[in-house]
Amino acid sequence: MIAHAASPRVVLAKIGLDGHDRGVKVVARGLRDAGFHVIYAGLWQPIEAVVQTVLDEDADWLGISLLSGAHMTLIPPLMDKLRQNGLDRVGVLIGGIIPEKDVPKLLELGVRSVAGPGTTIPEIVERMHQPEEHPAVEDLIRRFRQKDRRALARLLTLASRGEALDALRHELAERPKSCRVAAFTGSGGVGKSSLIGRSVELLRSRNQSVAVLCCDPESPLTGGALLGDRLRIAKPADDAGVFIRSLATPGGQQAIAKNLDVMMALLAAYGFDTVILETVGAGQGDTAVREQSDVLVVLLQPESGDELQWEKAGLLEVADIVVVHKADLPGSDRMAAQVHEHLNLPGARPIPVLKASAAKGQGLEELWAKIEEPRG
């Protein structure tokens, strides 16, 4: 296996109103295959949201795509905002239709590179492979103590790569864990990110701060990953009470579990009230996730078949709460009844089975009431 310790982290975003996302999606896939961890932030991103994403994701590079011709209106405030947040070292690459006369102006603003039509993926990879200097661990830990969000973001990166673990464990040992950790798991397409998005809204309306860790598997061949979960979690652009972090998880789940404890401790020590952990479901990795969380929520969705697919049964065994998601679809009542019957045998520990729909905003209050119930 190739060591993927230093996969560069790239945030890709579209700013302004234009929806032409062919280029940015092609670049996202190209960088993934070149071993990058690519966080796709999506369309119509306000400047503030882009900067927050770059900061929280500890990005090495920011790729901005725009084909609307509004670059000379939008890029200067973007570059200012990056500088104000101490993100000068982040390389900025602009892709799209940029007239040649504007290129020198953009470079003068601090943009590292402009990639017009006809730029190949290998050319973009080449430009983004310039190494960056990072502050020393001691310095990061000192700043972390002062609640420096950039330091938190960087330390999470180090922890995920298995670097500086001793120093971090030492630092975090004396801090009592004080936040609630809820893990959401379920197979792809079940709507984990959407439900988490709604959960974040609910928690913020109660003035709780919340951190979300979105885990997605990386390619075992290249170490690259395309991480798009955060774009399903809508939040106000300038809300510092929400921290969203995309994580690429290597094939062997135990490795991530080991460092997950450090990441959780970092977020707790930083002071978040709630941490939500999102993982692709199925498999023994979930038991490792189980150890890191106070509550494990398993999401299912109504199925067209008559019988519950029992390969999911193993996953249900470890659940604290089961949510039948997309409850607006037909078959959700039957599904909930089947799961309830399966799980709540006489004498077994009772497991609540709830129905929810992120699309309709249903079932959120009940879900969080259950998550926040004291348990033994």
Binding site: G16, L17, D18, G19, H20, D21, R22, K25, V26, R29, G30, Y40, G42, L43, W44, Q45, S68, G69, A70, M72, T73, L74, I97, P99, E100, K101, G116, P117, G118, T120, I121, P122, G189, S193, S194, G197, G228, L231, R232, I233, A234
Partner: protein, 551 residues
């Protein structure tokens, strides 16, 4: 004003690469393998015969064209998409194009308008009048078509999420100016589904978005009988990187969804069917494109007759507009784009289009200059009057190669229909991200083949020039944005605000009751409600799509 012209270009390039190898086996631009030779055996193997499958021009299933005489009877409409700056500036460009011999108008709106915003919304800053014309109120609509005879000239409007609002502006403006609705001819794109697949100009969630599409279809079917109420578009799907087959299949699947929804509203299949139109891309691969148009016609005829039981032939005829592929244009050696556009336009005409936009050579650099747009129009005129390709309908009908490709594409499109049905239909497939994933994967596959020089792009990965020759391009300055902000401020100042509020309340009421919102939209337009105000009233009831819906 828009004109100071600047020079761009002059970057030096690395030394030119050697003459490239040609891919073996040959594939189309979509990656479909092409056999070394096609013969009568291929037709026999696929069961293709003139009587059973191909048919004749003007006869069901219209594979060879929707008219018996095709261009011998009437040429296609030469319709160049235009719009920039203020309504006054675009009106000038429209009249310039009509003077040059263009036979129909096609309106490009700016991004704020396409997203249902006004010029004075904060998100609009820097985008007002930049990629199209800014329209905020009915007064802008009146200015846009001032001194143009709308009962004689057909008008196309490319707008989707706010289509119902803009169409209400148009009809209310026509009423004020004294035009007869029954004589108005034109097309409004009004195709929201492909926005979810590819183009991303979206305001409301899918289900209520489609409801608005059907509201417009329903209203115009009764009151504006010559209007094409939806232009079901594959163009943008292709531009987003799909293959030719995906373009064909997803577009027709969208059409099927609109017809289903219209029928479930109680509309008559033939009333709806005869006003549907289509819009396809004209890409580089000449024969693949021709086969795509031919397959589209025969598939749609089949769908209308055998799936929806259309009684009238006119409902079974797939009429389409074509535009040459914007995504095929290159910024290196931009004049070479003239040749690309000419071959693409040839494919569209050999494929039997009803109207055509040919791109200008400078469109990767800016909106077209007058010089470039004139050359683009002249390209069509050469095709129509000099090349002789118009002299007989479907000149490639019966070609072993073209008929085989046509049959293959039909089959592959039908396979996609099945996949979509299998996922629970159009809205379920949108929700699962099916279309977006298929298209993005195809775009990536294509880009990799370009990067590896398996697909050759002249001037980009082969036959490069050391020196870039510059061409003159159109510059749009900040002037229009300021002028439009003044127009809007004036409109807001001179209107009766309580009448606007009443009209917007009526829009909301209609939306809440799930009535056809169109009459209420028209009253709001007449009261001088803006695009953003009207869209917000609708969004209060229909909801707004969060970006999270689009991965």
């Amino acid at each position: 004003m828009a004109s100071p012209v600047v020079e761009i270009g002059n970057g030096t390039r690395a030394a030119a690469l050697p003459v490239p190898d040609r891919a073996d086996p040959a594939t189309t631009v979509s990656g479909v393998p092409i056999a070394p030779l096609y013969t009568g055996d291929d037709l026999a193997r696929l069961g293709i015969t003139e009587s059973a499958t191909i048919g004749r021009p003007g006869q069901f299933p219209f594979t060879r064209g929707i008219h018996e005489a095709m261009y011998r009877g009437r040429l296609w409409t030469m319709r160049q998409f235009a719009g920039f700056g203020t309504p006054r500036q675009t009106n000038e460009r429209f009249r310039f194009l009509l003077e040059k011999g263009q036979t129909g108008l096609s309106t490009a709106f700016d991004l704020p308008t396409l997203m249902g915003l006004d010029s004075d919304c904060p998100q609009s800053r820097g985008e007002v009048g930049r990629l199209g014309v800014a329209v905020d109120t009915i007064d802008d609509m009146r200015q846009l078509f001032a001194e143009i005879d709308l009962e004689q000239i057909s008008v196309s409007m490319t707008i989707n999420a706010p289509a119902a609002v803009i169409m209400a502006f148009y009809l209310a403006a026509a009423r004020e100016a004294g035009w007869d609705w029954r004589k108005l001819r034109g097309t409004i794109q009004n195709d929201i589904l492909k926005e979810f697949h590819a183009q991303n100009e979206i305001v409301f969630p899918p289900e209520p978005s489609v409801r608005l599409v059907i509201d417009l279809i329903e209203f115009c079917a009764e009151h504006v009988p010559q209007w094409n109420t939806v232009s079901i578009s594959g163009y943008h799907i292709r531009e987003a990187g799909s293959t030719a087959v995906q373009e064909l299949a997803f577009t027709l699947a969208d059409g099927i969804h609109y017809v289903e929804q219209s029928l479930s509203r109680g509309l008559d299949v033939d009333t709806v069917g005869r006003r549907l139109s289509f819009f396809f891309n004209a890409h580089n691969d000449v024969f693949e494109e021709i086969a795509k148009y031919r397959a589209a016609r025969s598939l749609w005829a089949d769908v209308m007759r055998n799936r929806f039981y259309a009684r009238e032939e006119s409902s079974c005829k797939l009429r389409f507009h074509a535009q040459t592929a914007g995504c095929s244009l290159q910024d290196r050696q931009p004049e070479v784009n003239l040749m690309r556009v000419a071959y693409q336009a040839l494919a569209a005409v050999l494929g039997g289009c009803q109207s055509l936009h040919s791109n200008s050579m400078d469109e990767t650099l800016a909106l077209p200059s007058e010089h470039a747009v004139t050359l683009a129009l002249r390209t069509q005129q050469v095709l129509a009057y000099e090349t002789g390709v118009v002299n007989t309908p479907d000149p490639l009908g019966g070609s072993y190669f073209v008929e085989t490709l046509t049959a293959q594409m039909r089959k592959q499109a039908e396979d996609y229909f099945e996949q979509i049905d299998h996922q629970g239909g159009m809205l379920a497939a949108i929700d699962s991200g099916f279309f977006r994933r298929e298209i993005a994967d195809a775009a990536f596959t294509y880009q990799k083949s370009v990067d590896k020089r398996e697909k050759i792009i002249v001037g980009v990965n082969a036959f490069e020039e050391d020196e870039q020759k510059s061409i003159d391009i159109l510059q749009i300055d900040e002037g229009p944005e300021e002028e439009q902000l003044r127009n809007l401020a004036r409109a807001k100042k001179s209107r009766n605000n309580s009448a606007v509020e009443r009209a917007l309340a009526a829009v909301k009421r209609a939306a809440e009751r799930k009535e056809n919102v169109f009459p209420a939209l028209m009253e709001a337009a007449s009261a001088r409600a803006t695009v953003y105000e009207t869209m917000s009233a609708l969004a209060d009831v229909l909801g707004r799509l969060e970006t999270g819906g689009l991965s």
